[in-house]
């Protein structure tokens, strides 16, 4: 049987074997939690607690600011010991609330359970927003925005992203195996909010156990499980839609422009908790792995746990770390130190040693065209990158630089090790700056 897929892309070694068989473990609370106010795409939340305040688990500590924004909640009960800029995964100090856990881990009593059957779509959407639900695949886009298609846009299909195409990561895989009922409950809530019937869970074929398990669980719920070819970036929104439905999202458009909403399976499980239990997003599953970690694990972590604490829970470091990546190796963000806290978008923590890295100085483009053949958007990365280097912003725009999804395929495949994605991102920055000026 040929599996569904998209055109372009590549298949890096998936390196998932060291953590794929490890059940999800709850990570104990650290000595202090550092919870940044900026954890999602959009306006950062506004901190509304002060030093000395006692907070309960799930209590709002920062209010949403604007529509594309969500509130931030305390990940455990305890005392606020500082409200100050702390090193953020972005690489600079940004406002954060520091909480010293009291060890009781008490939920806020005002949070109440709901019956999704009794609520209408608007009420459900409000619950999702108030729970601070963002896309847990790593992009952290506020979920309620995706669930609010503007007038005139009709949604006919909900796609659940269980692809997990990034090498090393196994958090979604374990979630699908161990907590399918939360995912299915979330899907039913999402279907009610969007008013759609068709729901498809896309899963890469390298997770046959998850596919079999979900097929069994979903049978009674009219949810289709779609095995997909192992190909990066199968889990990118637009590629997933192409693979599952054969629909193309127009240039500059969103999935809702072709009648689809895509949510990650982890987001789905969080939505179930938010509605059914009334519990906001204060924890997530993250894979801690890489050759620099003694004992790779899938951990259920409280948002704000310093990375060092995660490493300690996994048997400590194996050798001297040379590269720390938050997220997957293809699109994740390199970190300056292990004092950075894990945030809502932290799908994984990867540690590599010097001997695991292949660092070569960038050479000249040899015009081999490999970046063009792997680009899932069918752009010309090398051309856009050359324009970016020469600051020819208008030309870069005419080559559709803004459609780049920054998946990293071109940089991965480039035999000259050119920083193609960074160059394209530079061009995108220039184009956006020019548009703001006009």
């Amino acid at each position: 049987m040929t599996l569904k897929t998209f055109t372009g892309g590549l298949h890096p070694p998936d390196s998932k074997q060291s953590s794929a068989h490890k059940p999800i473990e709850r990570c104990p609370l650290p000595a202090e939690l550092v919870i940044p106010a900026a954890q999602h795409i959009g306006a950062p939340a506004e901190i509304c607690v002060a030093v000395g305040d006692q907070v309960k688990k799930g209590q709002v500590i920062a209010q949403a600011k604007g529509f594309v924004s969500v509130p931030i909640h305390a990940s455990t009960s305890g005392e606020v010991i500082a409200v100050e800029p702390r090193l953020h995964p972005m690489g600079r100090a940004l406002p954060a609330v520091v909480i010293k856990p009291d060890g009781l881990d008490q939920w806020d009593e005002t949070l109440t359970a709901n019956d999704p059957g009794q609520l209408d779509a608007e009420e459900l959407k409000t619950l999702v927003r108030e729970a601070g639900i963002v896309g847990l695949g790593g992009a952290t886009f506020p979920a309620h925005v995706k669930l609010s298609p503007p007038e005139g846009k009709t949604i006919d299909t909900l796609i659940l992203n269980g692809v997990e195409c990034e090498p090393y990561l196994t958090a979604d895989h374990r979630l699908m195996l161990e907590q399918a009922e939360r995912i299915i409950d979330g899907i039913n809530i999402l279907r009610k909010i969007l008013g759609v019937k068709t729901a498809i869970i896309g899963i890469e074929a390298n997770k046959p156990d998850a596919i079999a398990h979900l097929e069994k669980e979903c049978a009674a719920h009219d949810i289709q499980v779609q095995p997909l070819k192992v190909q990066y970036p199968q889990g990118a929104e637009k590629q997933l839609i192409d693979a599952c439905l054969g629909r193309q999202v127009p240039s500059g458009g969103l999935p809702m422009d072709c009648g689809v909403v895509v949510q990650n399976v982890g987001t789905c499980a969080a939505i179930s908790d938010a509605v059914r239990l009334g519990r906001p997003l204060v924890e997530r599953i993250a894979t801690v792995t890489g050759p620099g970690i003694s004992e790779p694990k899938n951990l259920l972590i409280a948002i704000g746990t310093p990375l060092q604490h995660l490493v300690d829970q996994c048997g400590g470091l194996e050798g001297e770390p040379a590269k720390i990546i938050m997220g997957g190796p293809m699109m994740g963000q390199t970190q300056l130190s292990l004092e950075v806290p894990a945030i809502r978008g932290t799908s994984g923590l990867l540690i590599f040693r010097e001997q695991d890295l292949q660092i070569k100085p960038a050479g000249p483009c040899i015009r081999c065209g490999r970046c063009i053949s792997v680009c899932p958007i069918h752009l010309q990365p090398t051309t856009i990158a050359a324009y970016a280097r020469l600051e020819l912003i208008d030309e870069a725009e005419s080559y559709h630089a803004l459609d780049c999804i920054e998946c990293g395929c071109c940089t991965y495949i480039c035999p000259a090790t050119l920083p193609l994605v960074q160059s394209i991102r530079h061009a995108k920055g220039g184009i956006m700056a020019k548009r703001r000026k006009l």
């Binding site: 600079r92 960038a362 970016a388 920083p419 960074q422 991102r425 530079h426």
Partner: protein
């Protein structure tokens, strides 16, 4: 044969006549002064005057909408020529040149991560505020060098931008492109500068740079009039620059430099024949 000659020749005659009429009828009146001014401008189209290029500036001056002393690359010489063309008196602005206020190259200042990306300061600055630990120091990736229309900027082997005092015309292009505002415009006559751009406190600076200003106030105590210390960073008060050199020996981190006794370490520029232009002193 004859028909061909006649028809081609005929077309030629008609076209010539039409062009001749058009040239008279649609002639664009150009102020002769505008052309004369364009002639004396340096022609670098650098944009320092605020116009897109030299012709725009020439037109503005001829119209009387722009002052004649807005061309820094031209200097006093061009101001004088423009004034003569326009038949007006003009005072040239005090000539300014750009100076990189940093000496912390890769041998002296630390990096917080290994940067392997695009060789462009603005691209590097977007990644965790740039690889250099110092928040204000020169990133050394050469964006200013590429922006300079006059070839006045060099990058030392250890990654520090150095601006030639002889070649810099004061067009300010490098100032605009630098993401860290480490390049400043200073009076040409002032040769002594505090070459540091970090407002961090002394103990922190010592951790990441051997040659940064630690805000110790010794320069200000030595020559009170010539220095000002603000937010842990000393600056030369350029109104009193002549006295500033007296504090150079006293500076514990050697971050004050008199360019008349040489450029920062690693620069290939020969010691400038300073004072470069003395006419402003007179």
């Amino acid at each position: 044969m004859l028909a061909a000659v006649l028809s081609i020749g005929g077309i030629g005659l008609v076209a010539a006549a039409a062009l001749g009429v058009a040239a008279k009828k649609f002639a664009v009146e150009v102020d002769p002064r505008e052309l004369a001014i364009l002639e004396v401008l340096p022609g670098a189209n650098c944009g320092a005057c605020g116009q897109p290029g030299c012709s725009g500036y020439a037109k503005g001056v001829a119209d009387g909408t722009l002052a004649p002393n807005l061309c820094p690359p031209g200097g006093a010489d061009v101001v004088e020529k423009i004034a003569r063309i326009m038949g007006i008196e003009a005072v040239s602005a005090e000539p300014q040149i750009a100076v990189v206020l940093c000496q912390g190259d890769n041998s002296k200042a630390t990096q917080k991560y290994r940067y392997l990306g695009l060789s462009d300061c603005n691209a590097a600055q977007k990644i965790a505020d740039g690889p250099k630990t110092c928040p204000g120091g020169c990133l050394g990736l050469g964006s200013c060098q590429r922006a300079c229309p006059f070839g006045a900027i060099e990058m030392t082997p250890e990654g520090l931008a150095v601006i030639s005092r002889e070649k810099c015309t004061g067009c300010t292009k490098c100032v605009a492109v630098c993401p860290r505002q480490v390049i400043r415009m200073t009076p040409l006559a002032a040769t002594t500068h505090v070459l540091c751009n970090s407002h961090d406190k002394g103990p922190l600076i010592r951790k990441y740079c051997q040659i940064g200003c630690i805000g110790c106030h010794i320069c200000k105590k030595t020559v009170p009039d010539a220095y000002a210390v603000e937010d842990f960073l000393a600056r030369v008060d350029y109104a009193q620059h002549a006295q500033a050199a007296a504090a150079i020996e006293k500076c514990p981190t050697k971050c004050i430099r008199d360019f008349s006794s040489g450029y920062p370490q690693g620069s290939s520029f020969a010691s400038p024949t300073v004072p470069v232009k003395t006419e402003t002193a007179a």
